[in-house]
């Protein structure tokens, strides 16, 4: 009976949009690394931790006014909410119960209450005893009056900060890789301490040294000596004690040096991975991202132009030499093999990508990236560079949205030069922006006061721009070449294509945005 009730409640939750929405928003607040709100919440929690710990420190020598308790209570309340939230979203129990129930249904068996309860408790208990959850709980614990003695656990709140400092987590992850070396050094250290403190105690613990009363004193002395701190509060007095000190200091120095080099090595080995993780988490927050594969000459020129117009992009290349430029200009970049699925997955599929540009000089690579992307998202716009005339068709078959074959365009322009250089200059300047003259487009959007008026009426002629055409939005693009300045009236969603000085075009755009009704 209870089992049925739990199952139907799971179905009810699964069908409730509201429940899911609330859960998603809690997830966004607490866990989703891509959400915009999480950084603020994290910052708030860190602030609370620092505040309550500072109060604790201040409290040692001063009496606090009563209302400081309120801050403590608010902080604890927030911490409890946070823990409960994480406890809730740690797992989707309803889905587990439903899938268990449906499996049983297929087998024609009745769902067992015991198994359902096991599913519920096991998952949640597992979460409760996970390291992160224990840190959170320890931070809440000292708030109970009866546990006042546990006030010292307040410093566990400082551990909460681990949760929010990603670099620290990555650092620990790096050290994990060197587990063997570090363990070895640790065991070596413990062995040296135990050995030398035993020898010390045997030789000087029997009253020879007035400072050593117990074995603990000997261990304390050994640790202080091996770490090369050497306070000097306990010093050996016998010959044997001094001999063992010499060896201990030598060994301690070696262990210290070795562990330093192990950590440094691990860091330098993994620093690029750390950097990449950082870049990926950064671009994960961006929207309308442009991904450029290949940072050769074409990729570099394109990136420079995109940077100029404040577009968000990332470049991917396998050549370190090429990427040195990207580092110099402070672009987002990934040093990765674009032919591997993982690279495309982490850069393209996991992010909000608007367009992908393939600029490598290798058609096989360009095609392979193109097909990988199109196999997954056929609507994602891909602009591909073809490096040989024969391959253009292949790019079209692979459904590239645009294929650029720069050599043909260049040849066409170059051939113009045989005749008179004038036409060459004109075409060249339009195709490759060489001075302040640029070809641009201006959209007449809904609500613009330009609608229903002619080119002459809107006063565009006071700027010395050359109007080329009007492009009408629609099922198939209608194209009006050289629109009449007096009789053509603008309609909604017309795009005006014109040549002019950058500053003039900027002024016109500004004018349009200001004249919105």
């Amino acid at each position: 009976m209870l089992a049925r009730w739990i199952v139907s409640f799971s179905y009810f939750l699964e069908s409730s949009k509201r429940y899911k929405r609330v859960k998603t928003s809690i997830y966004n607040l607490l866990e989703n690394p891509r959400s915009k709100i999480k950084p603020f919440f994290d910052f708030f929690i860190i602030f609370l931790v620092v505040l309550t710990v500072s109060i604790l420190i201040y409290d040692v020598k001063n009496r606090l006014p009563y209302h400081f308790e309120v801050i403590e209570n608010i902080a604890v309340f927030v911490f409890i909410f946070e823990w409960l939230g994480r406890f809730w979203i740690s797992d989707n129990l309803r889905l587990r119960i439903i899938s268990y129930y449906e499996r049983k249904l297929e087998l024609g068996e009745k769902p067992k209450l015991f198994t359902i309860l096991k599913i519920i408790t096991l998952q949640k208990i597992q979460y409760t005893f996970s390291p992160m959850s224990i840190i959170d709980l320890l931070a809440i614990l000292p708030a109970y009056r009866s546990f006042r003695i546990l006030r010292i656990f307040l410093i566990f709140r400082l551990f909460k900060m681990f949760r929010y400092t990603k670099s620290l987590n990555s650092f620990l992850k790096i050290l994990k890789d060197k587990k063997f070396e570090l363990n070895f050094l640790l065991i070596l250290g413990i062995f040296a301490v135990l050995l030398s403190s035993t020898i010390m105690y045997v030789f000087e613990g029997g009253g020879e040294n007035p400072k050593i009363h117990s074995f603990l004193d000997a261990i304390y002395w050994a640790v202080i000596t091996i770490s090369t701190i050497g306070y000097g509060d306990i010093t050996p007095v016998t010959i044997a004690g001094r001999v063992i000190t010499v060896f201990l200091v030598g060994g301690g120095f070696l262990i210290l040096v070795l562990s330093t080099s192990v950590v440094t090595n691990a860091l330098s080995e993994k620093i690029s991975i750390l950097r990449e993780e950082k870049v990926l988490s950064h671009i994960g927050k961006l929207t309308n991202l442009i991904v450029i594969f290949g940072f050769g000459r074409m990729g570099q020129v394109l990136a420079a132009q995109l940077k100029k117009s404040h577009k968000k992009f990332i470049v991917v290349d396998i050549s370190k030499e090429n990427l040195a430029k990207a580092r110099e200009y402070d672009y987002n970049y990934m040093h990765a093999d674009a032919s591997s699925y993982d690279t495309i997955d982490s850069v393209v599929f996991k992010n909000d990508v608007k367009k992908v540009v393939l600029t490598t000089n290798n058609d096989a690579l360009n095609l392979s990236i193109l097909l990988t992307i199109k196999a997954r998202y056929k609507d994602l716009a891909v602009i591909a560079r073809a490096n040989s005339y024969e391959n253009i068709k292949k790019f079209h078959i692979a459904k590239a949205d645009h294929v650029i074959f720069p050599y043909q365009t260049v040849a066409e322009v170059a051939v113009e030069y045989i005749g008179n250089s004038v036409r060459f200059d004109a075409i060249d300047s339009i195709l490759v922006q060489k001075d302040t003259i640029t070809i641009d487009e201006i959209l007449i959007s809904k609500g613009s006061s330009y609608i229903g008026r002619s080119i002459d009426e809107i006063g565009i002629n006071k700027f010395s721009v050359t109007i080329i055409s009007v492009l009408k939005e629609g099922a198939k693009d209608e194209f009006i070449f050289n629109p009449d300045h007096y009789t053509y009236k603008f309609k909604e969603n017309d795009s005006l294509v014109l040549i002019g000085e950058e500053k003039d075009i900027f002024k016109i755009k500004d004018d349009i945005s200001r004249q919105m009704i």
Binding site: L302, V410, V422, R423, A426, V432, I439, T466, I499
Partner: protein, 229 residues
Amino acid sequence: MRKIVLFGYTKTGREIAKLLLTDEYEVTIIDENPMQVALANEEGFFGRHTTLKDDKVLIEVGIGGEAEVLFCVSDDDSLNLFVTLSARNLDKNLKILTKILKKEDGKKMILAGANRTISPYDVGAAKAYRIIQKPKVSKVLNQLSSLRNSISISEIEIPKGSFLDGVHLNDIDMTKETNLIFLGMLDKELGEKFIFFAKGINHKIDARDILVVLGSRKDIRLFEEKIWT
């Protein structure tokens, strides 16, 4: 037949050669790489495997003589520079177009004696940029190049005694009556540089100036007839 020298049967060189495959031109293709030369010959051109580092070869292919235009489009930047310099040294009037890797190299090539420079990477990048940032512009440019039969860019020299001779540009509005777009002009008084009308300078048109217009072939022909009056 106009004599043209093409140095470098590269991706760019190959496309140029294809476009020049008419009776109008006699193209000499030179490449330092025998594989490229073989490819050129295979594809129906006359390729020669030699180097242009030696002035004797330059003279042999007609530079300093009949050759009118030199395209330096090899993949080696410093080689292009060297050939440009040697050719300019032999012939002051030769038209030299040199391929560069990026805009910054342009000045160096001009200093070496190239008349104009061009970069396929700039062209490619600019095209990709337009598709991303100015999709309408790239649509219009595509249309213009696909409609090549009807709409084209044309240059028109102003003859002596034309009704346009001595007229200030801003005083007349020809766009409406001619149905042409006036892009810019080459003003002989100001030198060899092409100037866009969109720069906003009020030019005085003189005889021998060259106007660059965009329009249908029919309208261009009508305009050409008209300026003689």
